[in-house]
C-alpha cells in the first residue's frame, strides 16, 4: 500500500547573510493511512521547518532545494501550481500550530474562522458554514457550542482555543493532520485532554497525524512510530515500543535519560552536554559527535548513513557496524571543553 505521505531527501535551506542555513538536510520518511507518527527533537533540529515544507509554507530566504520530493496521495506536492496547493492546505492536509492564542485572528469570531474553511473548500453558504462550525465545535468537545461560536478568541481559555484550532483543522476531514507542538503552550492537565481528543478523533475519522514535539512522554502515549531528528536529519526511526525499549542512537539515549520519570530513584537528571551546532555550519562527519559519549575517529570523518538496526528500526550511527565501541564510553568532547547544556 502506498504511504499517504512520503518525504524523500527533503532539503530546506535558508539563504542569509550569515551563510546558508541547512535547516532540513536530507530528511526522508513516510506516514501511512491512519497512522500517528511522532517527530521528536530539540529546538533547532528542523522539525518545524519540515512540517512547514510539507505544506509549502516556506518562503524566501528559505527554499526547498532541488532533489527533494514530497509525495502525498500519490501526487508530487512540490511541482503543484500554487492554486492547487491551496486546495490541499486545510483540505487534504491540515495543520495545528503551537500557540493557540496567536494562531487565531483576534477580530473574527471563533465560529467565523472555522466556517471560513468550509466556505473556501466546500463552497458552503454562510449559513451552512456557520452550522458546520457549530457541529465541529461540538465534535471537539466544546461546551455550549452555539454560544462559543459567537465569541472571540480572547474570551476563551487556552485549552478551548486549541480545541478551536483542531476543529478548524478537521472541518474538511483531511487525510493528514500535522500537529506542530500542539500542547506545548498549554497546562499539563489540558495537554492530556487535547492529546486524548486528537487521538480519539483521528481514530474515529481515520486521519493520520504527524505529531511534532520535543516531549518524549507525549510520543510514548500517542504515536505508533517515532522519528528522532537532530541537526536537520533523522537520526533514528522505530516503532514506539522499540524506541523506548531498545534505543540505539546515543542522542535518543540521551533524550530518554533526560526524561524525568515518576517512581524510580530520585537522582540527578542526566543532561546531554554541549549544544546543537548552528545550521549554517554543520560539522563534518557525525553531527552529534561532540556531544556523544561513544564517538571515535570514524565519527569525525565519515557522515553516518541510516543503518538498518532491525525491522522498522534505523539509526544514523556508526555503532550499528561497530557495536563494541558502546562498551567504552568516555566524556563527550563538549563536556571536556567545559561547555554543558542547561
Amino acid at each position: 500500500m502506498t504511504p499517504l505521505l512520503e518525504l524523500d531527501n527533503l532539503r530546506t535551506w535558508f539563504y542569509t547573510d550569515s551563510g546558508i542555513a541547512r535547516s532540513v538536510d536530507g530528511v526522508s520518511f513516510h506516514v501511512d493511512q491512519g497512522e500517528t507518527v511522532g517527530v521528536v527533537g530539540e529546538s533547532g533540529c528542523g522539525k518545524s521547518v519540515t512540517a512547514l515544507s510539507i505544506l509549502r509554507l516556506v518562503r524566501p530566504p528559505g527554499r526547498i532545494e532541488a532533489g527533494s520530493a514530497i509525495r502525498f496521495e500519490g501526487k508530487d506536492l512540490l511541482s503543484l501550481p500554487e492554486r492547487e496547493m491551496q486546495h490541499v492546505r486545510g483540505n487534504r492536509i491540515a495543520m495545528v500550530f503551537q500557540e493557540p492564542m496567536t494562531a487565531l485572528n483576534p477580530v473574527f469570531t471563533v465560529g467565523d474562522q472555522i466556517a471560513e474553511v468550509a466556505r473556501i473548500h466546500a463552497g458552503m453558504s454562510k449559513r451552512d458554514a456557520a452550522a458546520k462550525a457549530i457541529e465541529m465545535l461540538r465534535l471537539v468537545g466544546m461546551p455550549a457550542p452555539e454560544q462559543r461560536a459567537t465569541e472571540y478568541p480572547h474570551q476563551l481559555s487556552g485549552g478551548m482555543r486549541q480545541r478551536v484550532v483542531i476543529a478548524m483543522a478537521l472541518v474538511m476531514n483531511p487525510a493528514l493532520v500535522i500537529a506542530d507542538e500542539p500542547t506545548t503552550a498549554l497546562d499539563v492537565t489540558i495537554q492530556a485532554q487535547i492529546l486524548e481528543l486528537l487521538a480519539d478523533l483521528t481514530k474515529r475519522l481515520g486521519t493520520s497525524i504527524l505529531l511534532i514535539t520535543h516531549d518524549l512522554g507525549v510520543v510514548a502515549e500517542n504515536c505508533s512510530r517515532v522519528l528522532v531528528m537532530y541537526a536537520g536529519e533523522v537520526v533514528e526511526e522505530a516503532l514506539t515500543s522499540d524506541l523506548f525499549a531498545r534505543a540505539h542512537h546515543p542522542y535518543t539515549e540521551g533524550l530518554l535519560g533526560a526524561m524525568p520519570r515518576v517512581g524510580g530513584q530520585a537522582e540527578r537528571l542526566a543532561t546531554i552536554p554541549g549544544t546543537v551546532p548552528p545550521p549554517t555550519a554543520w560539522p563534518d562527519g557525525c553531527r552529534f559527535r561532540e556531544r556523544c559519549p561513544y564517538a571515535w575517529e570514524r565519527c569525525a570523518v565519515e557522515h553516518p548513513p541510516l543503518y538498518q538496526i532491525g525491522v522498522n528500526h534505523v539509526s544514523r550511527c556508526h555503532l550499528a557496524v561497530e557495536p563494541e565501541r558502546r562498551l567504552h564510553p568516555h566524556v563527550p568532547l563538549a563536556a571536556q571543553q567545559g561547555v554543558s547544556a542547561a
Binding site: 505544506l55 509554507l57 500554487e82 492554486r83 491551496q86 486546495h87 490541499v88 492546505r89 486545510g90 483540505n91 491540515a94 495543520m95 500550530f97 500557540e99 496567536t102 494562531a103 487565531l104 485572528n105 483576534p106 477580530v107 473574527f108 471560513e116 474553511v117 473556501i120 473548500h121 472571540y152 480572547h154 474570551q155 484550532v165 478548524m168
Partner: protein, 323 residues
C-alpha cells in the same frame, strides 16, 4: 465601556475649557482692538471710538469680559463681527458647512484611496510595485500644501483653463444659471480644491495603512489563514486588513481636525470662503469676536471628533468592547 465613555467625556470638556481660555487670552493680549481697526480712519475722533468701546464692553476689565464671553458662548451667543457687520454666529454658520463640504469630500476620497494604495503595497510588500508606490507617496507626502495648491491652480485654471480659478461659485454668472447649471457650477468650483486636499491627505494615509498592514503580516494568524487554504492575497485582504483597519480608524479621528479647522492654505489659494479663510481674514482685521469664536468652534469640533473616533475604535475592537 461605560466608564471609558464617562472618562473621555470629562476629559473632552476639560480640554474645551482650556482651549476657550487660551484663545481668549491670546487674542486679548495682542496689541490693537477691533474698534481701532474698524474705525481706523483718522477722521473719526478718539471719543467716538471710546463710545464704541464702551458700548461693546471693551473697556471693562479683561476678567469681566472673559466671564461675559464664556457665558455668552455657552448660550451660543458668539458676539458681533465688526468686519462682516453681522453676528459672528451667522458668519460661522455660513462658513462651516462650506469647509465641511470641502474637507468631508476630501477625507472620504483620501481614505478610500489611501487604504486601497496601502493595501496594494502591503500585499506585495517589497516588490517593485511596492517600491514605486512608496516613492511616489513619499514625494506626495513631502509636498508643501500651499505650493501644491498653487501649482494645481496654475496648471488647471490658468494654463489649461479647465476649471475656475477659485471661489465658491461664479461671481457673475451663477445667479443667472438654471438649477442644473448652478449645480454644475458648484461642482466645477469644487474639483480643484478637493483634488488638492485629497492628494495631500492620501499620501499620509496610504503610508500609515501600509505600515499597519505590514506590521500584522508576520502574525501567526496570517500563517494559519494561509495554512487553511487561503491565497496570500485573500489572507491579506480578509484577515490582515480587518486587523489593520483599527489604527486607520484612529487616524480618521485624528484627521477630523482637518474636517473642522479646514484646510487653511487650500481655502486661501482657491478663495474658498470656509472657516479657515474667514478666520484668517478676521485676524488681519483684529475682529476679536470672530477670531476667538472661530478658534473655539474649530477646537470644539476637533475635540468632539477625537472623542467620536476613540469611541468608534473602542466599539470596533472586540478586545476592548467585550473587555
Amino acid at each position: 465601556m461605560r466608564r471609558y465613555l464617562a472618562a473621555r467625556l470629562l476629559q473632552a470638556l476639560g480640554v474645551i475649557a482650556f482651549i476657550t481660555t487660551l484663545s481668549f487670552v491670546v487674542v486679548r493680549l495682542a496689541p490693537g482692538d477691533p474698534v481701532g481697526t474698524a474705525l481706523a480712519n483718522s477722521n473719526v475722533s478718539e471719543s467716538v471710538r471710546q463710545q464704541w468701546r464702551t458700548a461693546y464692553g471693551l473697556d471693562r476689565p479683561v476678567s469681566e469680559q472673559y466671564v461675559r464671553w464664556l457665558a455668552n458662548a455657552a448660550r451660543g451667543e458668539l458676539g458681533y463681527s465688526f468686519y462682516h457687520r453681522r453676528p459672528v454666529r451667522d458668519v460661522l454658520a455660513d462658513a462651516l458647512p462650506r469647509t465641511m463640504l470641502l474637507t468631508g469630500l476630501a477625507l472620504l476620497l483620501s481614505f478610500a484611496l489611501g487604504i486601497t494604495v496601502g493595501l496594494l503595497q502591503a500585499e506585495r510588500a517589497n516588490s517593485g510595485r511596492d517600491r514605486w508606490l512608496g516613492r511616489a507617496l513619499l514625494l506626495l507626502y513631502s509636498v508643501p500644501d500651499f505650493w501644491l495648491a498653487l501649482v494645481i491652480l496654475m496648471l488647471f485654471a490658468y494654463r489649461l483653463p479647465f476649471f475656475p480659478a477659485g471661489g465658491l461659485v461664479d461671481p457673475v454668472l451663477h445667479d443667472y444659471l438654471t438649477p442644473g447649471g448652478q449645480l454644475l457650477d458648484r461642482l466645477k468650483h469644487l474639483v480643484l480644491p478637493v483634488v488638492t486636499l485629497t492628494l495631500l491627505s492620501t499620501a499620509g494615509i496610504a503610508r500609515f495603512q501600509r505600515s499597519a498592514l505590514v506590521a500584522v503580516l508576520p502574525s501567526d494568524w496570517m500563517r494559519t489563514a494561509v495554512a487553511k487554504g487561503l491565497s496570500w492575497k485573500q489572507a491579506v485582504r480578509r484577515h490582515a486588513l480587518r486587523n489593520a483597519l483599527l489604527p486607520t480608524i484612529t487616524l480618521l479621528g485624528l484627521s477630523l481636525p482637518v474636517f473642522a479647522a479646514g484646510a487653511i492654505y487650500v481655502e486661501r489659494v482657491f478663495s474658498w470662503p470656509g472657516m479657515g479663510f474667514v478666520t484668517i481674514s478676521a485676524i488681519a482685521a483684529r475682529d476679536y469676536a470672530l477670531v476667538t469664536s472661530g478658534v473655539l468652534v474649530m477646537s470644539v469640533l476637533v475635540v468632539v471628533g477625537a472623542l467620536v473616533a476613540d469611541l468608534v475604535v473602542a466599539a470596533a475592537d472586540p478586545r476592548v468592547r467585550l473587555g
